[in-house]
Amino acid sequence: MKLYSSFRYQVCSHKNDLSLYYLIILCLHLLEIVVAVPITLAGTENGTTVIATTNGLSAVSCMFMMIAGICSFRENFSMTLQNGVSRRSLFLGGLCASAVLSLIMSVMDEILCLLFQLLDLLPGVQLESHSLLETTYSSALSGLLPALTALAAIPFSFCLLLAFWGLGYFISVLFYRLGKLGRLLIGIGSGLLFLAGLPGIFELYSRYPQWPIWAVLENMLWKLFLLAFGAPWNTGVSCLVLFAVFSFFTWLLMRRVALKK
């Protein structure tokens, strides 16, 4: 098995992207602080306060992971096939690599979050820095010690990042398998769904609220939403389930994929 070689290659192929990503994030946040602090200091005299925030870092990391997933397949597939790696080893290596990347990023995100929380202690600095877990589930975490909350944020982010990577990788393999027409149809179709389909449904909902379907849908979707994302652990498990589902369909698409010319 060339599983370890495949895993090692796939992890290392993201080394530069990951370093660059955190360098940019760090620079952006530092720039934000550098800009916000003088305004805050000047503002305290006339009663206005500017609060710099680093919230949302996890969400940006999720986007990064999805894009990393999208970019992971094509190049790695041809490189590993060139070097005698089977699709199975590429897939399993990819799963392991995504777990390692998610772990690194969830730890890094939390470290950055804590670092910016420390900066808040400096005089003249008003800085809000919370992890996605704290921002989304503040009431559920109210009884927890700050240290435990910080620790809990790591597995929470890990599951979230994993799900986004799974989605990105699935999209990438799906588009690789599809022909030109399929790519066009799915590309335009999903664009239309988001730009016209969903607003259309909301428009119908606002015009005809008396339709019984809305009550059924609302009831069902809300229950489903609560079950999947009602509490931090539910969200974590739901993300893992999503990751497993995306990975399963990715494997179905990948196991017979041929190298394109």
Partner: protein
């Protein structure tokens, strides 16, 4: 110990690329895989190296199934026309990663070869010209140290000097430790010097699978005046006749029958390229 291809068929939409092909690449031989453009050579090599799947049939490498089998695939390396390395990767990085996948990859040897070909190790794959891209892939293929090396158009874009250097290194490497090299090339005249076995594919079908001697021994040229050549070839299986003025030159299957020939007739062997053209011309 061999690569065994059994009843392989493959089609791409309306095109039948391979039709029920069965052959084997023996251990420690230099084999020429010949065919015209679109004959199915690259398709065959891609199936052997697990890049594409056949519609039917199977491939085994030293007895183990080749498809989706890491250990079987680690016994072969395909240098293909398509570049499978990431474009942003530097040559030296590609060498390092090849060692990650093929532990027997000789990086020092690769560096020496790169130096002989004046291949800059720091150049990125996307920055290499067609010729140097072939050289990069050749250097990797020759340093990987596996029992089966498949070379698909290995000298594409190489100048005469580099082609000679490649043939020289290939033979030296082969002499030092024999391995199976399958060379798919259109430069038959050059490759004929060291090819031991010949496999000819025509329109997806296997036309010949034998040793080079066997193939060329069964065909000869007879030349002389038009009248005497015409008389000689009557009743024999003639592959081709060329006429220049009053002279005729015929390519005949079988062995020369000098007793039946007049003194003015001349007999000679047929080179591989000429024979290939005769066999594959539609």
């Amino acid at each position: 110990m061999s690569i065994l291809v059994e009843n392989i068929s493959k089609s791409f939409q309306q095109t039948q690329a391979l039709q029920n092909i069965s052959l084997s690449f023996g251990e420690g031989k230099i084999c020429g895989l010949l065919g015209r453009n679109g004959a199915g050579k690259s398709t065959l090599l891609n199936i052997i190296s697990n890049r594409i799947f056949p519609d039917s049939g199977s491939v085994t490498i030293d007895g183990a199934p080749a498809a989706e089998n890491d250990s079987a695939q680690s016994r072969l390396y395909l240098m293909s026309e398509k570049t499978c390395y990431p474009e942003s990767m530097r040559v030296v990085e590609a060498f390092r990663w090849t060692r990650n996948f093929y532990p027997d990859f000789d990086e020092d040897f690769a560096r020496k070869l790169a130096d002989s070909f004046q291949l800059n190790l720091k150049t990125r794959v996307k920055g290499l010209s067609t010729g140097y891209l072939s050289i990069f892939k050749l250097v990797t293929a020759l340093s990987v140290n596996v029992p089966y090396v498949l070379l698909d158009e290995p000298v594409l874009g190489l100048d005469a000097n580099h082609r000679e250097l490649f043939y020289h290194i290939l033979l030296a490497k082969y002499a030092e430790k024999p391995f199976t090299a399958v060379i798919s090339t259109h430069l038959i005249e050059e490759a004929a010097r060291f090819i031991e076995d010949v496999i000819i594919i025509k329109e997806g079908k296997l036309l010949r699978d034998c040793s080079r001697e066997e193939l060329t021994a069964g065909v000869y040229m007879v030349s002389g005046s038009a009248q005497s050549v015409e008389a000689y070839i009557k009743g024999r299986k003639v592959l081709d006749v060329e006429a220049i003025g009053g002279l005729r030159s015929a390519c005949v299957e079988g062995t020369p029958d000098k007793a039946d020939a007049g003194p003015e007739l001349e007999f000679s062997g047929v080179d591989l390229q000429k024979l290939f053209i005769l066999l594959t011309n539609s």
